[in-house]
Symmetry: C2
Subunit: 122 residues, 2 copies
Amino acid sequence: MKYSIGEFSKLTHLGIHTLRYYEDEKLIIPERNNANRRCYCEKDFAWIAFIKRLKDTGMPIKEIRHYAQLRAEGNSTQNERMEILIQHRQVLKKQIRQLKEHQAKLDEKIKFYQEEITSQNQ
Amino acid sequence: MKYSIGEFSKLTHLGIHTLRYYEDEKLIIPERNNANRRCYCEKDFAWIAFIKRLKDTGMPIKEIRHYAQLRAEGNSTQNERMEILIQHRQVLKKQIRQLKEHQAKLDEKIKFYQEEITSQNQ
DNA sequence: CCTTGACATAGAGTTAACTCTATATTGTAT
DNA sequence: ATACAATATAGAGTTAACTCTATGTCAAGG
């Protein structure tokens, strides 16, 4: 199955402009048809999903580009790509730990407000 | 204990420029001494710690400003501030859930690489 | 007295990540 | 054949959150 940029935009919930921007940034470079139109495929869809994951976990576009370029070079870069992901796993782990701490502190603060407010109503 | 902006900058690990920017944005407005110099105190330190927490959990500065303005209005806004934090707790909860999902998928991918690589070495 | 360093304000510059505009082509329905 | 909607490129504009520069003030040490 092949998708025009418009279809692919709907599929991925990324704007047309964003897809072209990602192409400029060399994150995802789709095939072209004989009229020079972009032709995205299933594989591109899976790849975009992964790009989103990296973005959502705070990886900047430059780093994603690096990963994408290694990917484009083929199998010989598997090891290096794995290393990047292993590094990133550490980052993610730390993020989760920190957010949990923030959550705990936020809960404390909310509890404090609740106590303040109920004590005022007596 | 009172701190000049230079001291407070070191204490909070926020640049002097950033502290002044936060003041422009009405997040934290310290006292002034008779020479018009900023005078940060312990309470400001606790408040900056909380601002950082909100920032680190993705709250934009405009929303933090809103919270800060309510805070400046005093006790009568306690309820509204609590509501904001309760809302934000939901956001945070969702963030953590998502990051955990991303972590799981990342682990899968790493595992996949490891299997690929070991199978190639045989 | 004079220099120096920390502070003050106002406003310009930077960076990341989009997002939009202008203009030109092209495939499809009438 | 013609109109029109989707696509193409190049480049400008936007937003958030800083970060820096220019210029001026002032208190304390030599």
